[in-house]
Symmetry: D2
Subunit: 346 residues, 4 copies
C-alpha cells in the first residue's frame, strides 16, 4: 500500500479526501495535517465532520500534525490547502522527496507543473521530469484544475477534433465550492450571487493549458478564447454550466452527442468512472441534485445539446460534482494515473 | 377614472394586477374575470391571495365574472390569461370596443399588434390604428413581452446606438414566473432546472420586434441574432440575466455604463420608474433578493459591466422583477402610455 | 424468490419501493401497477424517475398494469396507493389470496388489521389470522404507520418501560412527504407552512395502537395522550421531530439515552438496520441532511436528550428518512418480518 | 428632534435601526458608532448594506465613530452591540447622562433594568428611577427582550387573565437572527439545525420578568414554567413559534381568539402597530414570508388556535419579524414609550 497524507485535512475538500482514501485499494491514510490550531489534537476533536457519510472510526482518533514533511510520513500528499499556504508548503514536500497531488491553485499555471485531468491530458504528466530537474527536487507537484474548469474541459476534449474556435460559459455553482462557511445563508436563500472571486480568470485560462500540446519539453496552449460569467446559486453540491462552443467544422448536435458518448478515459483505476461523460436525452436534464452523484461523483452529465442561433455554435448543459470530480476526486484520480504510469509504486 | 377589468384575476399575475391597480390614480377596478370554476363567487372565496401585501378589503367581496365582454364593464381590460384562452377571449373584447392590455403571448408577434415597452418603442403604439382597420374592431389589443425579454430589451435599447451585432444570454429565472404551482419544491430545493418550456424562442425573437423600426405601416425587425439558454433557480421573484453583447462600435465598459445611466423613459406616469435602468458598482450586484424591488419593481438593475475576452463583446448582469416589470407592471405601464398618448381617456 | 408487485408504482413512494426491491435477496419485482393513465405503457415512458439513483434498466421496459389481481402476478403486493384508491383495491388483492403490505392510511386503524413496526410490535402480526377469518379472505392486509408516527414511535418504544404519561411533539417535515408535486416551491422557499392536512390526528392516534397490547384477540390501546403540531419546511427528505415525554418513573437523560442506545430490533433481515435508534452527542444534531441516510435510511437518529423545565419531562430531537423508514422501507421491513415469522415463504 | 445614535451600526440590527430611524418624525440620526475596524471611515465604505431598501444617501457619507460617549453626540443611543461589548459600553453612556435603548442581552435580567415591551409591561419603565439612584447615573439603560421572547410574550399577555400555568414552545427561527454570517448556507440548504446557542434559557426566563408585577420597587416574576425547543430553518426573516399554553380557566379557542383580537397596545406612536396581534383564520397561516411584514413588521400574526388533546391546553402558531419587532423595532418602540411617558423630550 502507498502511504498517503492529507494536507488541510479538516476542511470540506480535506474531508472528501479522507472519504475517498479510506478503504482505497491502493492507498492508506498515513497522516492528517492541518494548521497550528488543530495540530497535536485528535482529528475527531478538531474536524467538524460535514458529510452525510460517517467519519471513519479509525480516523477519529488520529493525531493531526502540522503540514511539514518532518511530521508527515507519506509517499504522496493530497493537498487541500488554501492557495497562499500551498505556495509555501507544497515545495517543501516536493523537495523532501514526496509527491504532491494538489487541488490548490498556487502552482497550476507554472510552466513545469502538470495541470492534469487523466482523461484529457495524461501525457502532460511527463512534465514532472523537467520539474524535478529544474528545481532540484526529489519529489514533484502535480495539480488538478479548478472545479468549474474540470467539468467544462472534460466536455471540450472530445470536441477538440472539430476545431474549437471559441467558448462562452455561464455557470451556476454550488455553495460547497466556497468551503463550509464561504457563503452565508443570508446571501443565498431566495437569492443568487452573480460573482465568484477569482473564478472567471481561472475558467478562462486553465482549459487552454489542459487542452494544449506537450511537445516533449513544454505545453503549447490551445488556441481559442473562453469567456466566462460565474454565478453562485442555492445548490449544495454540483456545478451546472451552460456552454456555447464555436467549432470550425460546425458539427451537428448528433455528431457532438456521439463524440460525448464515445469519449473514454485513458486509464482504468479505482476512482476512474466507466463513462467520464454521460449524455441524457430528457429536455430538463442534467440537474445538479439528480446527476451530481453519477459515476460516484466522477462522471460529468451533459444534456440539451442543440444548435445556437449564432452561426456555427453548439449549446449544451453540463453538471458535475464540484467537491468530488471537481476537487478531491480529481487529485485522487491524478494519483492513480501516477501509479498507472509508474511514477508512484505500490 | 378609467374603468379597468382584470382577466385571469385569480392567478399570480392577476393578483399583481389587482395590487397595482388598487389605489391607482387613473384606473379603478371595475371587474374581475376568471374561469367558470370561479365565476359567480366572491373573489376572496376563490382566490388564494399569495402576496405578502394584504388583499384589498374592497376587492374581497367582488363577484368574479366570466371573461366575456357581456359581463365585464370596463374601458380597458388587463389580461393575465393563459395563452390559449387569451387567443379566444381577447379579440372578443377588442371587437366589443374595449382596449386589451395583454400579458399573454398569443398575439405578441402578430404583424398589426404592438409589442410594447414604453421606454423602448412607444412609437409602435401607432400600429393599433392599422389593427383596428384590418380587423374591423372598435377596440384593439396591445401586448407586453415575455418577462425575460423585457429586462434584456430595456438594457439593449441604450446599446442600439453602438450597433448591436449579436447577443448571448444565460438566464437564472425565478419560480414565480411559472405561476404559483408551476415549479414543485421537489424540483428546486438544492437544485436547478436548466430548461423552461417555450422560453428560449420567445427571448430570441421578441426583442427583434421591440427594437425594430416602425416605418409608418409595419415593423421591420432589428437585424441581429440572439442565443438564449434559460434556467430556473430557487429564487421567489427576480430574474437574473448574464448577457454578452457584440457591438459594431466596440464601446468601452465606461461608455456602456454611461449609456445605461443616462437612459430615460419616454413617459412620466404613476408606474414609470424614475430610472428604468439602475447601475451598481459593487462587484457582487445586482442580486435578485436585494434589487428586484428597485423602482417599486419597475427598474432593471445592472452591474458587472466588463469586457469579454471574446472580441468586441461587453458582458453584464441584469436583474428585474419578473411579475412586476416583467408582467403586470408592464401591462399597466403600457396602459399609462395609452392614456398619455390619447388612446384612452380619463 | 417471492414474487412482489408494486401498486402505485409511478409516484415517489412507488419509486422507493422499486429502488428497495430491485436486487433484494428475498423478493423479485414481478409487476408494476398504476392508474389507467399509465397502464399498458412501458414503465420508463410513464414514470418520471425522481431519485438520484438511476432507474434499474430491467424496470424501464416493464409494462405497467392496472392495480387489479387479474393483472398482477404476485405473492405479495406493496401498496403506495392514495388512501381512497387503497380502500377499494387492497381488499380485492387480499380476497384473491395475496398479501398486501400497505403504506396507505385506509386500513391502519381497523380492529383486525395489524399496524406494524417490526421493532415495536411484531406480535401484532398475529391479528392477521383473525382478519382472514373475519373477512373470509385467503390473503390479508398488513399496514405501516404514517411517516411521522414511525420515527416517534420507534423512540417511544424503549421509553415505555418508564411509564409514558403524555407526549408533546412539534414536527418539521420534509417536502417529499407530500409527493413530488405536493408542495409548490412558491409555498416553501424562504418560508414554512405550519399545517399538514390530516397529519396531526394520525400522529396523535396511531402510536397508541402501535404501543398497545395484543391480548390474543385484539389490541388494547396504550393509555397516554399525544398532542402534535405539524409543520412543513424546506427540506427534501428527513422529518425532524421535537419531542417532550412525561414519564411516571421520571428517568434521567442518561437513563433515556441508555434505553435508546440499547434498543434492538426483533428481527435480522436485509432491510433491518443494525441500530434502529442511533444516539448522537453533538449539541446541534441530529440534522435531516446529515442524518436521514443513517442505516441506509432505516435508522432514526436522536440527540439533545435533556430535562425539560416542566416537571418529569424529557425532551429530545429525532430525525428519520420519511420515504424510506417512514414509507417504502417500512412496508418492506414488514414484509421481511412476515417471511421471518412464516407468513410468507421463499 | 431628539438626537439618536446607533451603537453597532454596521451589523444587520444596526442597519435596521438606521432604516427605522431615518425619516423618523421624532428622532434624527446624529451618530453611528462601530468597532475600531470601522471607526474613522465613512459608513458607506465600511457597512455592506444588506437590506433590500437602499441605504439612505445622507447616511452613506457619515463618519463612523467609536462607541464612546466622548465621540457620540446623542440624547439616546440604540444599542445593537454584541452582549460582551454591550456589558462594557452601555454603562458608560448611562453614566454620561445618555439614555440607552438596548437590544443586547447583557443587562436584560438585572433587577433595576427594565426589560420592556410597551404593549406588555409599560409600567416597568418606572424601574429606571431606582436604576439611576442605585447606580448614581444621570442616564439609564432600558432593554428589549430576545426576538423569540417578544413574539411569544406579546401573545401570552392577553392570556394572562386566564391564569397561565405552563407554556411549551417549539420555534422555527429565521437565519437573520444569527447575523449576516451567522448561519453558513451549507448548514441550512435542504436542512435545519435543531439548536441555537443560548436561546432556550432566554426564552424560558425573560417572559417571566416581562409578565411579572412591578410592586413599586421591584419586579416579582410571573409564576409559571416555560419549556422551549429552538430550531433554525431556511427562512430569511420571521420566526415561527408553535405554542401550547395551559391555563387555569381553561378558555375555549374562541375566547382565546377574542382575547388576541381585542388586545391593544398602551401607546400610540409612529412605530406602534395598529394591531399588536393579528389573527388569521386560514388553516395554513401564519407563514413567515407572507406575514412577517404585517404592521410594517411590528405586528405578530397568530393562527391555528385550537384545543390540545392534553387537558386544559390551547395550541396556536405565532409569526413575527425577528429583526424588526424582535430587535430594532422593539428598541425604537421602547424609545417612543419613553418619549410618551416623559422620560425623553422632543
Amino acid at each position: 500500500m502507498i502511504k498517503a497524507g492529507v494536507l488541510g485535512a479538516t476542511g470540506m475538500v480535506g474531508q472528501r479526501f479522507i472519504e475517498l482514501l479510506n478503504d482505497h485499494p491502493w492507498f492508506e491514510l498515513s497522516a492528517l495535517a492541518a494548521s497550528e490550531r488543530s495540530a497535536g489534537k485528535e482529528y475527531g476533536d478538531v474536524a467538524k465532520w460535514r458529510l452525510d457519510t460517517d467519519i471513519p472510526v479509525e480516523i477519529n482518533g488520529l493525531e493531526v500534525v502540522l503540514p511539514d514533511p518532518k511530521y508527515v510520513d507519506a509517499d504522496i500528499v493530497f493537498s487541500a490547502l488554501p492557495s497562499d499556504v500551498a505556495k509555501e508548503v507544497e515545495p517543501k514536500f516536493a523537495e523532501a522527496g514526496c509527491i504532491v497531488a494538489s487541488n490548490a491553485a498556487a502552482y497550476r499555471m507554472e510552466e513545469d507543473v502538470p495541470l492534469l485531468i487523466p482523461e484529457v491530458n495524461a501525457d502532460h504528466l511527463e512534465l514532472v521530469d523537467r520539474q524535478k530537474k529544474n528545481r532540484g527536487w526529489d519529489g514533484f507537484i502535480v495539480t488538478n484544475p479548478n472545479c468549474t474548469t474540470i467539468m467544462m474541459t472534460l466536455t471540450l476534449k472530445p470536441l477538440a477534433e472539430f476545431g474549437i474556435e471559441s467558448v462562452t460559459i455561464a455557470t451556476m455553482q454550488a455553495i460547497s465550492g466556497a468551503g463550509y462557511s464561504g457563503v452565508p445563508s443570508m446571501a443565498i436563500v431566495d437569492n443568487l450571487v452573480p460573482f465568484i472571486s477569482g473564478e472567471e480568470p481561472k475558467v478562462e485560462t486553465e482549459p487552454l493549458k489542459l487542452l494544449g500540446a506537450y511537445d516533449g519539453s513544454r505545453i503549447v496552449d490551445a488556441d481559442f478564447t473562453i469567456s466566462a460569467s460565474c454565478h453562485r446559486v442555492a445548490v449544495i453540491d454540483g456545478h451546472t454550466e451552460s456552454i456555447w462552443v464555436k467549432m470550425k467544422d460546425n458539427p451537428s448536435p448528433e455528431e457532438v452527442k456521439d463524440a460525448f458518448s464515445n469519449f473514454k478515459g485513458s486509464i482504468e483505476s479505482p476512482t476512474a468512472p466507466d463513462a467520464p461523460i454521460m449524455v441524457r436525452d430528457e429536455l430538463d436534464r442534467p440537474q445538479p441534485r439528480l446527476d451530481r452523484g453519477k459515476g460516484d461523483g466522477m462522471s460529468v452529465t451533459v444534456g440539451r445539446i442543440r444548435k445556437s442561433r449564432l452561426e456555427d455554435q453548439i449549446m449544451y448543459i453540463a453538471v458535475g460534482h464540484n467537491t468530488i470530480r471537481g476537487a478531491a476526486g480529481a487529485s485522487v484520480l491524478n494519483a492513480e494515473l501516477m501509479v498507472d504510469r509508474g511514477y508512484l509504486h505500490k
